[in-house]
């Protein structure tokens, strides 16, 4: 196979743009491979995701009870941090807050909508956090996939050094970047954003009706059998359509679809394992970035045999 020189710092013609980035807890632990690959892939496209100083947990789920304001405080504090980044000159007139984790995205964006649409709620929260500056309601919560779409999939295609030729990947969206509709970044019934991204990387995107069916989410803590059944349906439908791997942007979906394959296999002995990637890992490979950012050691089903078969990584290299 042809070897490509690892590149991690080159910027594109679009120049270098800095956007405040909210990682969230899981991106620093079980989904470190998501963060590392995404930051490296963004850098290769001339986008610098600048970690928000002093960020705190967003609460993971948006509180759905109308009288429950206190659980929105955590999210709003992070919006104030973005305001401060502008105040201190870390970014200039940049109100966007980018997330990678789909759950953080949903929680932060839902909270932000409630604050923007309800002046009374916002004022109550500002009063409660009297030691912080007031949240002005100007932050815009966006997902990394939206940044990529705005950049243009053509530009992403131009950056590809090692097309993911013949790699059949089923994009899996889950719930949190699609629903509810006012929060979602794509059509909630027939999303295409990850398909477009995968195709720009040279992969064959495999469509499956299960791409937007819930993986069971937090039920994985209480009853992993429920999740194993949902994962079985999602994974085997992708396999029936010819997929060799799945791609996702949610660390909880990744856990339920990847790590829970152990439980799936125990319940369904006919099941064959299938790798689940963060879509950013596939970007890093296609961009020919240094293998250190791939982080395959954190994937439960090792994707390296598949990637070697497709000559996308060296025979004995890349962790």
């Amino acid at each position: 196979m042809t070897t490509t020189k690892p590149e991690t710092t080159k910027t594109t013609a679009t120049g270098n743009s800095k956007i405040p980035y909210y990682p969230g807890c899981t991106l620093k632990t079980t989904a470190k491979n998501f963060e590392n690959s995404a930051l490296a892939a963004a850098r290769a496209l001339g986008i610098e995701l600048l970690e928000i100083p002093r960020w705190n947990c967003c609460g993971t789920v948006f509180s759905l009870a109308d009288d429950d304001l206190i659980h929105h405080v955590a999210s709003v504090r992070n919006f104030i941090r973005v305001q401060e980044m502008n105040d201190y000159g870390l970014v200039k007139n940049e109100n966007r807050l980018v997330t990678l984790c789909a759950m953080c995205f949903n929680t932060l964006k839902s909270t932000n909508l409630r604050m923007k649409n309800n002046a009374e709620d916002l004022s109550k929260i500002n009063d409660l956090m009297y030691r912080e500056e007031d949240y002005q309601g100007k932050v815009e919560v966006i997902h990394f996939l939206e940044v990529l779409k705005a950049l243009g999939f053509e530009k992403i295609h131009d950056r590809v050094k090692k097309p993911l030729k013949d790699l059949k990947v089923a994009p899996y969206y889950g719930c949190m970047i699609l629903r509810p509709q006012e929060v979602g970044i794509d059509d909630p019934e027939d999303p295409t954003i990850q398909r477009d991204l995968l195709e720009s990387l040279g992969a064959d995107a495999v469509d499956t009706p299960y791409k937007r069916v819930c993986c069971g989410s937090y039920q994985t803590v209480k009853d992993k059998d429920i999740v194993a059944e949902l994962a079985y349906d999602i994974l085997t439908h992708a396999q029936k359509e010819g997929a060799e791997a799945l791609a996702t942007v949610c660390p909880l979906c990744a856990f339920n679809l990847d790590h829970r394959q152990k439980e799936v296999k125990a319940k369904h002995p006919d099941f064959t394992e299938i790798p689940v990637f963060y879509v950013t890992q596939l970007m890093a490979i296609a961009f020919g970035l240094d293998g250190e950012c791939y982080g395959f050691d954190q994937n439960y089903v090792d994707p390296r045999p598949l990637l070697r078969k497709k000559s996308l990584i060296e025979q004995q290299q890349e962790s």
Partner: protein, 134 residues
């Protein structure tokens, strides 16, 4: 099975409580069943989402005895599909909150095996605590 239900002020109070917590008007539900038909977890539930909507409309507190709303994963599939634009996920949340606010938890955190705790991502644990504990 035909069952006669008498709507008392107590029943109306319960309906109003759910409406208030969820911000929804549960009586708008016309029992079309779209929520139940599309729910990815309905197979694990003891009553369907449209059934809990009906029980709430009638102000029947027995809806709290079923485990269905605890199996709900807040995936919002029903929410985006409801032809009456009712956020069914928020109704489920209201029912959970009525129980959780009595300090009755649905999950025993001590019962989670150590090896599970070691591998579960934080977002799983935090969201389960938010959804299942008061």
């Amino acid at each position: 099975m035909i069952k006669k239900v008498e709507i008392t002020p107590e029943n109306e109070k319960f309906l109003n409580k759910v409406n208030e917590l969820s911000g929804q008007v549960v009586t708008l539900c016309e029992q079309c069943g779209t929520c139940s038909g599309g729910c990815p977890l309905v197979g694990e539930m003891d009553i369907t989402p449209s059934q809990w909507m009906r029980l709430v409309q009638l102000g029947l507190k027995e809806v709290l005895d079923f485990k269905a709303v605890w199996v709900c994963a807040s995936c919002f599939t029903c929410t985006v599909r409801c032809p009456r634009k009712i956020d069914v996920s928020k109704v489920a949340e209201a029912l959970r909150q009525i129980i959780l606010r009595k300090a009755i938890d649905y999950i025993d955190l001590k019962a989670i095996p150590k090896d599970e705790l070691a591998c579960l991502p934080q977002i799983a644990l935090v969201s389960a605590c938010r959804k299942f504990t008061g």
